[in-house]
């Protein structure tokens, strides 16, 4: 008996140590990001911070992130604007229109799309989408191409999370709406979608976090010119692509500035996940005070 419990306690201790190693890992990641970006951060002043635009000329010591931050935001917003209505429509199709067999197949397809490696979507965008856009509005590799490829990437996330949010709307509401003789489109637009809003919003925020952190697909189709785009057809370079492109040869303060942009990106993604968590946990249900 005492042997048993001593054995238990030893295991407990070992496992606790292992779990603690996770915290150490997180601390390490943050520490190294800070340590590596310190040469850049320590020289940062508000008047000539990264949000001013001295231009991105790392070899001359001018590190203006503004165009890349702008590009990241533009690409992310654009893909959300496209993927949100499409994803919602797909979720509605899955929940209300598809027969059980079709719904299963459709779900499988969405999961398949979600599982396609981003580098393959990038390859496809580069060799298919970009030439098509080139014919229409050169140069082709552009903000638009990045938005389209990214839309394809985050669409399954939005569709699947929204579908499960719709599925978890209380059956009472569904039956109540049907019993009033409301048409299916009215039921969906005015009752089901509003009732599923918290779940949908959480899914969209997660998709946003994924879109803003995505590197390869955007890197391959966006053209990677550091500039604030004036139209959808201008090539842009996003923050993640910048890191991937320049880490290979960056040294000194240049390298530090890349780590700083990584730190910034991480903070933004954490912020989004936190909001998603808060939004997702505020479920609104009727009969709470019944």
């Amino acid at each position: 008996m005492s042997y048993c419990s001593r054995n238990d306690r030893r295991w407990h201790r070992i496992l606790t140590l292992l779990a603690a190693s996770l915290a150490v890992l997180l601390a390490f990641i943050l520490l190294f990001l800070l340590y590596e970006s310190w040469p850049f951060l320590s020289r940062l002043r508000f008047e000539d911070g990264p949000f001013q635009n001295p231009g991105w000329y790392p070899l001359e010591g001018r590190f203006g992130f503004a165009p890349m931050i702008f590009a990241s935001i533009a690409v992310t917003l654009g893909s959300i604007l496209l993927a949100l209505p499409l994803g919602l429509a797909n979720a509605v199709f899955l929940e209300f229109y598809a027969s059980p067999i079709i719904a299963r197949g459709f779900r499988l397809l969405l999961n398949l799309l979600a599982g396609v490696p981003s580098v393959i979507l990038g390859l496809w965008g580069l060799t298919r989408l970009v030439p098509m856009i080139t014919q229409w509005q050169p140069p082709g590799a552009s903000l638009l191409a990045a938005i389209l490829v990214l839309t394809l990437m985050i669409l399954p996330t939005i569709a699947l999370t929204s579908a499960s949010a719709l599925a978890s709307v209380p059956f009472d509401l569904r039956a109540g709406a049907a019993a009033l003789g409301l048409r299916l489109n009215t039921r969906i637009l005015y009752i089901m979608l509003p009732a599923a809003r918290p779940g949908i919003a959480a899914g969209v925020l997660l998709a946003t976090a994924r879109a803003i952190g995505e590197t390869m697909a955007v890197l391959m189709v966006a053209g990677n010119v550091v500039q604030i785009p004036s139209s959808l057809f201008d090539p842009v370079r996003v923050l993640t692509a910048n890191m991937a492109l320049e880490m290979g040869y960056a040294v000194g303060e240049h390298r530090a500035s890349l780590f700083a942009s990584g730190l910034l990106l991480t903070m933004v993604v954490w912020g989004l996940s936190w909001v998603a968590y808060r939004v997702g946990s505020t479920t609104r249900r009727p009969h709470t005070n019944g």
């Binding site: 779990a19 997180l26 499409l86 199709f93 397809l109 299916l184 489109n185 637009l189 993640t240």
Partner: protein, 277 residues
């Protein structure tokens, strides 16, 4: 009228997505299939990858994956077991561990690449190597794996736990013989998720395992994985598109094969456990 418009819009959207997916897949499969052959799989790349094969790249991919799994699986399972079985239920440290996991899961992969470059390649002096790449990937898939396993263990009926303890089993052996087999589906799901992520990952490996496309001689040697190969061929090598599509098809097939393998081995392992117990 309004209803008909609504219905057609919904069905059109669904058709659009299905169409886009089939477009992508058919492109990858048809172009990839044209380029793929046994010789492609088993020979060295020539002319920056335009011709020749992908043998060293496959080897590097598998090594990086093996390292990532060997590190992440036991560690991840241990942490999941700790969280669901041993961790003090309402204590802050338990909650903090969960938050830590969620934070880790949220870090973009390119940032893992930066960290891996700073820590494994430079600070630990592993250089651009399969080992740095594998360890970086291990850090990346660990949080997702732990979370999936933990939720699976949590779903195991409490009666089984009580039953095992009432029989005088020690908690470690209860975990080993009863709880882990019972949580098999979730562990498998976590494994599949981890394999999918690790095999598809590019950004985190660019600056940790490197670009070198010759056969790696040891774990401390640099090696180019499939996804990096695809990226390099399509972006930096003019005329490399066909080989890129060939590699893309191989990558997809590899992911499917690995998932099937994970399924089979998990099945047989757990079956043995259940029979023994």
């Amino acid at each position: 009228m309004a209803e008909r418009v609504f219905t057609s819009v919904i069905i059109a959207c669904a058709a659009l997505v299905v169409g886009a997916l089939f477009w992508v897949l058919s492109d990858v499969v048809s172009k990839g299939f044209a380029h793929i052959s046994w010789a492609f799989l088993f020979s060295e790349p020539l002319d920056a990858g335009r011709s020749g094969g992908i043998a060293p790249i496959l080897v590097a991919t598998l090594w990086v994956l093996v390292i990532a799994l060997v590190v992440a699986l036991p560690l991840g399972l241990a942490v999941a077991v700790w969280l669901s079985e041993f961790a003090p239920k309402h204590l802050r440290s338990t909650n903090y561990t969960r938050i830590t996991l969620d934070i880790l899961a949220g870090i973009p992969s390119i940032v893992y690449g930066l960290f891996g470059n700073a820590f494994f390649t430079l600070y630990l002096g592993l250089g651009y190597s399969l080992l740095s790449g594998g360890l970086t990937l291990a850090c990346m898939i660990l949080p997702v794996f732990v979370r999936t396993c933990e939720s699976g263990l949590r779903l195991v009926d409490d009666d089984w736990r009580r039953g095992a303890l009432a029989l005088g089993m020690s908690r470690p052996s209860a975990v080993w013989h009863i709880l882990l087999p019972a949580a098999q589906p979730a562990i498998l799901a976590g494994l599949v998720l981890g394999i999918g992520r690790a095999t598809a990952e590019t950004a985190a490996l660019l600056f940790t395992s490197g670009y070198v496309d010759r056969m790696p001689e040891s774990l401390l040697d640099s090696g180019r994985v499939l996804s990096v190969h695809i990226y390099d061929l399509s972006m930096n090598v003019t005329g490399g598109d066909d080989a890129a599509y060939g590699s893309a098809l191989v990558l997809i097939i590899l992911i499917i094969l690995l998932n099937a393998l994970a399924q089979c081995s998990a099945d047989s392992w757990f079956k043995r456990r259940l029979n023994k117990a």
